[in-house]
């Protein structure tokens, strides 16, 4: 079932303490899509999710509307919205067994719609099988690990076959390994059952890996919504670019097509004036000699050869903050990188987000690379 949001805004407090948690947001989520709401804390992503769930109300002025498919649920109570909600801290009923937790939604249905107890038992066991917890049906939540509790909470949310599944930082309280497993498993479940889901996270990797589309939020605003690939490769603005990965900054003065910053020089095709360029660590090459286009002398301050690439920390007098470069192990060995070594950084490409224009300026330095 698709979800359509029109003008969903939210203020908290009143009078002078009135703060805006959400600027009016418009969002379309297609049937069967898995969308991630990504943003730092305080960006309004959880508020937006809770408004969609009906746990909070959007500002009534401004004509806020929430549509599930063709159904207008703007003024429908949370219990009648037919959503499944998964909380960060599981919110399991501690005095009930795993079985009773999962069965809860079915047992509180009005008598005339309620399945027979045999049907409920069969359905709960099917759900527990799906989350691989059927042996633990008679345990209490306190006897389960965090990952198991979150699976119970997911089974509980799915028991009523909701049209829409909403997850609030579902893996936030779990450790890295369990997170990875649950993430893969949720994606699998989503593809198998075909519900529409929306999840909130502050973890870039999680959002990019799990979602069909990612909505990046900051300060109560959706900055960009697109596929993970598009969001990463062509960020709509500087915030999105910086939030989605490590960034190196190069600030300097441009004159006659050359950006200068202390002893550093870089050829750029930009008008004269002060500029700030952004570079990703993997878009930097390290060499023992400068090129005609780029003269960026740096000193290696640390290396970390863990993983597919070597992370190299670089410092220089002309740099405010140290840079980070990731190089291939082959290059690392060829250059014989050691701490204190002096090298030249050569950007393959750089990014530029002038404050005035929201459109991205992106220059491949093809010749330089």
């Amino acid at each position: 079932m698709s979800i359509r949001l029109h003008n969903i805004g939210k203020h908290f407090g009143s009078g002078r303490q009135r703060t805006q948690a959400l600027e009016p947001v418009n969002l379309d989520i297609h049937d069967g899509e898995l969308v991630g709401l990504l943003g730092p804390s305080g960006s309004g992503k959880t508020t937006l999710l809770r408004i969609i769930a009906g746990l909070e109300h959007a500002d009534p002025d401004g004509g806020a509307r929430i549509l599930f498919g063709e159904r207008d649920v703007t003024n429908v109570h949370v219990r009648d919205r037919r959503i499944g909600f998964v909380f960060q801290h599981y919110a399991l009923f501690r005095h009930m067994t795993v079985f009773d937790n999962v069965a809860f939604g079915l047992t509180v249905m009005p008598r005339r719609n309620r399945p027979t107890s045999g049907e409920i038992r069969a359905r709960v066991h099917r759900l527990l099988e799906m989350v691989q917890l059927e042996q633990l049906a008679h345990r209490y939540p306190a006897q389960l690990s965090g990952g198991q509790q979150q699976r119970v909470s997911l089974a509980r949310a799915l028991a009523l076959r909701p049209d829409v599944l909403l997850l609030d930082e579902p893996f936030g309280a779990l450790d890295a390994k369990v997170r990875q497993d649950l993430r893969r498993w949720l994606r699998h479940l989503h593809d198998e059952l075909g519900f529409t889901s929306l999840f909130v996270t502050h973890d870039q990797e999680e959002a990019l890996e799990l979602s069909d589309r990612v909505a990046v939020m900051s300060n109560g605003r959706i900055e960009q919504i697109d596929t993970p690939d598009a969001v990463y490769r062509s960020p709509a603005n500087r915030f999105v670019f910086e939030f989605l990965g490590d960034v190196n900054h190069l600030e300097g003065e441009v004159r006659d097509g050359t950006l200068t910053c202390g002893e550093a020089r870089l050829s750029v095709e930009l008008p004269d004036g002060s500029e700030e360029l952004l570079l990703r660590p993997h878009e930097l090459r390290l060499a023992s000699a400068p090129t005609p286009e780029a003269h960026l002398p740096v000193t290696v301050t640390a290396t970390s050869p863990v993983g597919a690439e070597v992370r190299v920390e670089l410092a220089a007098d002309w740099l405010g903050e140290p840079w980070l470069a990731t190089v291939r192990h082959a290059d690392y060995e060829r250059l014989g990188l050691t701490r204190g070594q002096r090298l030249f950084a050569i950007p393959r490409r750089w990014h530029r987000f002038p404050d005035a224009s929201p459109a991205p300026a992106l220059s491949p330095l093809a010749r330089a690379a």
Binding site: A53, L55, V78, R79, D80, I83, G84, F85, F87, H89, A91, L92, F93, R94, H95, F104, G105, V108, M109, R139, Y140, P141, A142, Q143, S153, R156, A157, A159, L160
Partner: protein, 287 residues
């Protein structure tokens, strides 16, 4: 007894990391003995002078038995009323924000702080047929002062903090998310309360109500002024003890007191055992 009969030798316990166990336990036990156990032993010492038949005659005297009925009946009503309103007060204090919340919170402890006699006199004046409340209630046919209703009222006044103060922290511990989870699963407000919130609060509520009940059984000062103290009708057990004492009948007073003591102890013990089991389940102690 041979020396090797002891399965665990005293003084051979592994050294504890936390210091001061011996000292703190020693002081605790000494204090408990002096303040709690010694007076109780004194009470039983008084009983030693009585034969079993005499003891039975004192505690099964018609007027005393009537006082049991009045006391237990009124205490039960007071405890139940407090359970309902105490729960509501705790709920309001935890879940909502409103001006004057702190004041209301502080007010909850007033019955503990106020001398009970002051409360008794105040209540008696208010509810007497010429008092503010009494004047309003009398035309409706409701007599509060000098009836068991008055006794229950005084008991409710003195014991309400027990319910509020035991339920409040447990409710604070219960995240609103649990409540919301029940609603997202389609539960009505009433169902969510009955099946999710109440079971969580149940141990605390029962404990609080039990404490309130036990406290009411022994209350004297607040009740005595409003009860009217008519034999067989509005005499409470604590008054019976007082009357015996005034007649220098220490053994008789102790006999009646021992009944109150046994009932209270049995009740407290039962609550403790039951609560222990319930809480164990919440924390996952059951296989």
């Amino acid at each position: 007894m041979s020396t090797r009969a002891l399965p665990f030798a005293i003084g051979r316990t592994p050294k504890r990391v936390l210091p001061g166990f011996g000292l703190s336990l020693g002081i605790s036990l000494t204090f408990v003995s002096l303040v709690l156990l010694l007076p109780m032993t004194g009470l039983f010492g008084q009983l030693a002078g009585l034969s079993l038949a005499e003891y039975w005659a004192i505690i099964s005297d018609g007027r005393v038995v009537a006082s049991y009925t009045v006391t237990i009946g009124a205490a039960a009503v007071a405890a139940l009323v407090n359970a309902a309103f105490g729960l509501l007060l705790a709920w309001v204090l935890v879940r909502y924000e409103f001006p004057g919340k702190r004041l209301l919170d502080a007010l909850m402890d007033l019955p503990f702080a106020l001398p009970t006699a002051v409360a008794g006199i105040t209540l008696a004046t208010l509810y007497a047929s010429n008092g503010w409340m009494g004047r309003l209630l009398e035309p409706l046919g409701l007599e509060v002062a000098y009836t068991w209703v008055g006794i229950a009222l005084a008991m409710a006044f003195t014991s309400i903090p027990f319910v509020v103060r035991t339920v409040q922290p447990v409710l604070e511990d219960l995240p609103a998310e649990v409540d919301e989870a029940a609603l997202t699963l389609g539960a009505s407000d009433a169902t969510a309360f009955r099946r999710v919130i109440l079971p969580h609060l149940w141990p605390a509520l029962v404990t609080g109500t039990g404490l309130a009940f036990v406290r009411s059984l022994g209350e004297f000062g607040a009740i005595i002024f409003i009860a009217g103290n008519m034999p067989y009708e509005t005499e409470i057990t604590a008054l019976m003890i007082f009357v015996r004492l005034q007649e220098y009948d220490y053994a008789g007073a102790s006999a009646i007191a021992s009944v109150v003591l046994f009932v209270s102890l049995a009740l407290l013990l039962a609550i403790n055992v039951w609560q222990g089991r319930f809480i164990k389940r919440l924390h996952g102690g059951r296989g």
